[in-house]
Subunit: 465 residues, 2 copies
């Protein structure tokens, strides 16, 4: 495992705060080892650092109370949604209190006429979409995991639909947030655009629990399109698939999803989800629009793909078939782990300007081969964002070293190409070494903001900066 | 005129800084009265407050030098692009140095393959689009005035295309900025999305010169659509036109422009631009897409408009006709002033959730009538954003009072409907009274950020907060 350094613990403060919280929250205050470990990082090779206690909050007022108590005693506060983050965001390197927001799971209000809604942070994206379906609406951001909307907001999640619908930043109209002193603020209105003051909404979206705890989110929604077509298309190489994606984006085709899978990833999906996708580099596609519009989009895609040797274009014909395809795509991570039983998956998240996509992905494939690693590739190619995931036998020290070397190499490559080390996962603990490399002096400005808004450094310490 | 209070002047600091700047900048340092007044506010009824000197900067290094000198002596620094802002952004209530960025007007780099470019802040939107045209690209944000991209970034401008392409926030990938101590930072990369740290890009976009001076902007571009169709359509009432807009948005029609004009505004445009538009409430439309796509969009619009009594749908048939229509729309402000010669135009900028648009606009019309004002209405109706512009005889004290009353009433109405007092103009001096009403305690968080990043309050003092 990769171990991130523990930070100094404020033992007397923690002891006092835990006592006060136990009084107020009774059964909703938990200190059992299993529950604490489950609220630390559990998804990747980053070592688990459990909090000292977990409190299940039921209201904004309660979250504010918890933060005030922790602020008074100088105790870390870590927000927790579903724990699906990949970079150690929920670890507690200085101990402290985990605020589990999963029971704040109400859809507060849906305004179908305005295509917006307000949700509590514990609502998951699947729960929201189930809630919305009857009204002909959906929320497009889809990071794969059935994450909570609070967590998705905190990490600026995106996923398969971002190429068309943008990221959380583009779809959060406002948040209600508890600041480091327990104050509750609301950062915006339901207007679709505003130039009223500094954009606190977008400052807090993606702040990974280090500037505030998010207690309510106002989201922009989309109407379910009249027609949805899904398909897959094979390519002779990852390069040819990437070149097709580049053409699609440059053409301006409003594709709703365009996902790249290398042959290793396809094999893993076929095995895990009992599919019979052709085991070649593949693009998975989805087109949204009118009946005529999606047909036209698919035709234009077909012509662009053919130029790159694309073949075997195959559209799904039923909703079930379509759901099965995307369910399989969403199960990429468990499918990978099943592909190499006993191995640990390592998340990477490079995102480069689209013109560099083919070069970056093929370089990554070559480096994986050179290092003798097994590392399926899957990605949101339309955004230039892709995941190479080394599957590592953690008992093999040499392999672990090589995997670590690969991760560093890939992040630096993406940055050198004018891209970012993280298109959507966030910095957390795992990507902290790259932030300065990517943004230089801008990180000092981030530090100044952090120090001003959380002078005691109690909000998710040891993350981002 | 509406006079905003002068702020305390640091006379010795100003004198010293001016001496140092004069040495460094020679002819590019100006203190003549006319040039100083031209660099204060000149567009609306807000009184002109000129700076003590104007410096024409030629490079980021020079901007950094100016800010360092001013920081050393505690002197205000005000960025200036084209001076087209409407809320007093470029006024100098505490005196100080205006940094005119209009000569930093180079398009630094265009990456057609990535649909992005880097520009200096003095490049105007028209100059950029002229530069891009041969490459089949355009930059969609269109605030009407031929504003500079630096100013558009600083105020989070939007305009007619925002309903489809978003605002500056959605189209700025990164900025290079000079902070209050003269440091130069870059806030992002060319990746289309990123979760790397706090979103300084979107914090600085719309910060109105109070957190930094913007010295370079990385913009996302669009391919010029295969087909563009423009049209206008008449309605029996503003309410019917608004209801149609609401239907269009709720339907999810990807209209590129949908502008509302009331009959007064149409009369003013006809007179100013020698058009013969029907003098009824009108929607001006534009559809972008494939040849088949725009035809389909126009048909769907037609059906939705018919439901509301829309009639006289008339599409432009040539590029010249289309350009003439939109040129007239862009000349709305001079057209208004010509409509009531000698009057001063007053800008308002309410933006409400789309379901409230009809109610808000018709209430505004009724209030205008009740107060006996003349106030054409034009707006980016698809965003719920509209401008009611009282044309005021400033020598008539009663009329001035009524206009002021109307502005307060409208801003408060928009806020009470879950909207904002400013969809795109920004706060500047004029809208400061409304920020607290709109966002409550969030403005304290803005103040904390301002104090942390500009502890001497030298960057555009007296604005936003």
């Amino acid at each position: 495992m990769v171990k991130h350094a523990s930070l100094p613990r404020n033992e007397p403060g923690i002891e006092t705060a835990l006592g006060v919280l136990k009084q107020q929250f009774g059964e909703r205050f938990q200190t059992g080892r299993a529950i604490r470990e489950q609220h630390g990082h559990t998804t990747t090779w980053i070592e688990n650092q459990p909090p000292d206690a977990v409190v299940f909050a039921h209201s904004t007022q309660e979250v504010s109370d918890i933060v005030r108590i922790c602020a008074q005693h100088g105790v870390p506060v870590i927000a927790y949604g579903t724990g699906t983050s990949l970079e150690g965001h929920v670890n507690a390197p200085a101990g402290g209190v985990c605020v589990d927001l999963s029971q704040m799971d109400q859809v507060v209000e849906v305004n179908p006429g305005d295509l917006d809604c307000r949700v509590q942070p514990g609502v998951t994206r699947e729960a929201l979409n189930t809630h919305l379906r009857d009204q002909g609406l959906f929320f497009p951001i889809d990071p794969g995991a059935n994450a909570s909307l609070g967590g998705m907001t905190a990490t600026n999640a995106s996923g398969t639909n971002a190429v068309r619908y943008g990221t959380m930043k583009d779809n959060v109209l406002a948040v209600e947030a508890v600041m480091a002193d327990g104050r509750v603020i609301r950062t915006g209105t339901r207007a679709r655009k505003s130039s009223a003051g500094y954009d606190l909404t977008r400052l807090l979206v993606g702040s990974e629990g280090t500037l505030c705890l998010i207690t309510e989110i106002t989201l922009q929604l989309q109407g379910i399109p009249e027609a949805i077509n899904s398909a897959h298309c094979s390519f002779p190489s990852v390069d040819a698939a990437c070149q097709t994606v580049i053409s699609v984006i440059q053409y301006g085709l409003p594709v709703a999803r365009i996902e790249l899978l290398d042959d290793v990833m396809v094999k893993a999906l076929n095995a895990h989800s009992k599919l019979d996708l052709p085991e070649t580099p593949l693009l998975l596609l989805e087109f949204h629009g009118t009946e005529a519009g999606v047909v036209e989009q698919a035709e234009i895609f077909g012509a662009l793909a053919e130029d790159q040797g694309g073949h075997g274009y195959c559209a799904t014909t039923t909703v079930e078939e379509r759901n099965r395809l995307w369910k399989a795509r969403h199960d990429a991570y468990p499918a990978m782990l099943q592909y190499r039983p006993g191995a640990q998956g390592i998340a990477t998240d490079a995102c480069v300007p689209i013109s560099k996509l083919a070069e970056c992905v093929t370089a990554a494939q070559a480096r994986v081969a050179e290092l003798g690693l097994i590392a399926p590739i899957v990605g949101h190619a339309g955004d230039g964002n892709f995941h190479v995931s080394p599957l590592v036998d953690m008992s093999n020290a040499e392999e672990v070293t090589k995997a670590a070397e690969f991760v560093i190499w890939l992040n630096e490559l993406a940055i050198s190409m004018g891209g970012t080390c993280t298109g959507e996962h966030g910095i957390g603990q795992g990507k902290r070494p790259y932030l300065d490399k990517e943004l230089g002096g801008a990180t000092d400005v981030m530090r100044t903001i952090k120090a001003a808004l959380d002078p005691q450094d109690i909000l998710n310490p040891g993350k981002v900066l």
